[in-house]
Symmetry: C2
């Protein structure tokens, strides 16, 4: 493990991939690894990119990478692939769109499955971002496929969130329902040469007004990834947002609230394992029969279980 960490810290992409696989598969050594990795983190700018399927996120991310590269930055990308809940199989995203950087040693691109429970996915994504941070990537981009509740939970761990919208998708309601408007720091109106782009931009401005005044006013940037216009401005806005996070009281609050979420996610995971063990014992002792015939109730039962676990 020592050896693996050393190789990863020196930038060996195979060693980095191995580390991410270990946390993704929740290997027994993963927790110990993360303890070693954590002290080296906190330097990268973690950027979440979310938006409906078809909004052109991968092409946009591909362009964005180039601008960071021009600044001499190393860029890591974590692309979340959705999996159908009933087959468990991952639908492969169109990662080809990022192929212009596929052979670049300063760009690391990794797909992660989103199978399993939601808590597990956001935790693994977060840990992968920490690993890339510790291994010297200056910018870590997390790209989700859709824009539902689960994606919101995943991009919440980012320092800065880009929401990519396009004209003619009519997904305003879904986006508002998922609560993504409040967590977006930069709005990207992609395919902005298409009809209706101005309407999308003004709708966003209106929704932002409805959400009320905030210290950081999310900019709305017109982009065409295809023509490569506006992406440089997105990078400028993201740099500005990072500066805001580092220099303002509001920024500190956000960093602390992310640390809280981080600890809480791990706590929830650990405690579920302990509860599950105690509950399994009860089930093996036949408690379900008693519940079924109502000679016991779940409220008394859970109080019993908890009194056995907790000091």
């Amino acid at each position: 493990m020592e050896e693996l960490l050393k190789r990863a810290f020196s930038g060996d992409p195979r060693a980095i991939g191995r580390l991410i696989s270990l946390v993704e598969s929740e290997a027994p050594t993963a927790k110990e690894l993360m303890k070693q990795i954590y002290p080296h983190t906190g330097k990268a700018h973690v950027i979440g990119v979310t938006g409906s399927p078809g909004a052109g996120k991968s092409t946009f991310v591909d362009r964005l990478i180039s601008y960071y590269k021009n600044d001499g930055k190393k860029v890591g990308v974590i692309a979340i692939d959705p999996s159908s809940p009933y087959t468990g199989g991952a639908i492969l995203g169109d990662r080809l769109r990022m192929q212009s950087h596929a052979l670049d040693p300063d760009v690391y691109i990794r797909s992660m499955g989103s199978r399993g429970n939601l808590g597990g996915v956001s935790r693994a994504t977060h840990e992968a971002a920490l690993i890339l941070d510790a291994c010297g990537y200056d910018v870590v981009i997390i790209e989700t496929v859709g824009v539902g509740q689960s994606e919101v939970d995943i991009v919440k761990i980012a320092d800065s969130v880009c929401l990519v919208l396009v004209p003619g998708m009519g997904d305003d309601v879904q986006i508002m329902k998922a609560g993504i408007m409040e967590i977006a720091d930069v709005f990207v109106i992609n395919k902005s040469d298409k009809d209706g782009a101005d309407k999308v931009a003004s709708d966003v401005q209106l929704m932002l007004k409805l959400l009320g005044e905030k210290e950081w006013i999310p900019p709305v940037v017109m982009v065409s990834s295809y023509k490569n216009t506006g992406v440089d401005q997105v990078k400028t806005e993201l740099d500005g947002h990072r500066h805001f996070l580092e220099s303002s009281e509001e920024g500190k609050k956000r960093r602390y609230s992310k640390l809280e979420m981080e600890v809480e996610a791990i706590l929830r995971g650990e405690i579920s394992l302990i509860v599950e063990r105690a509950w399994k014992e009860e089930r093996e002792a036949g408690i379900l029969d008693k519940l079924a015939c109502r000679s016991c109730d779940p409220y008394t039962l859970t109080a019993d279980i908890i009194s056995k676990i907790v000091q």
Copy 2:
């Protein structure tokens, strides 16, 4: 409290409403109440009705109620209203469509907000269903507004789940993604006099085939709530499904798995409170500063917290 329970058990709708409000607001007395209520439960047939907004669920439920009433049954309805995550305000569903039963003493209709965390909503909904069960309602219908992951979690507590689909919504993908195909016991193709209804039905049959053989083969029923055709057959199928649950090994397995979910949801809720308390102490002692400067890591910290809580 004794008095309130007595009045509710005797069928007083105001007392029943008060009980549901107590569990919905997570009142301190709620747990004690549920202990008293639980032994009286297990008689009702709990039916979940879900489907996209605009699929005509409320009108369908209104018709379904009539058929149960014809059998001399008392019917309780719990309608889940969604709330926008960013205002916290509940959008009122179109409950008017159930108005034909509004003054009927044998029909109890209750709207519940879906604000707050998801676990809280499914738990409150489940407890409301238990209350109606204990208070003598033979059939309890839980109607959700949308068909997302949260709705799946809510209708999972039902004995039988109806999925209402309509032609021309094109929501197959979303429904499949949410994993709702596997939990539906009866498929209702509503507005079946419209073009495309046969296509929806055959798509469903195909998807069911893809899911593989199961002991209960979910029927697909063509319905027009407007013309009131097919709803009687849905009721027949629901009665059949209930018989299946009561008489088969598979049915017993499902009942037991629901009991498990029930206990686990309460366990999770209780344990979170305990963990939150311990975690709050750490925060007040300034642990976030240490995490921020990386002089402590979340993995060591959570292990410490857990060792303090758990025996």
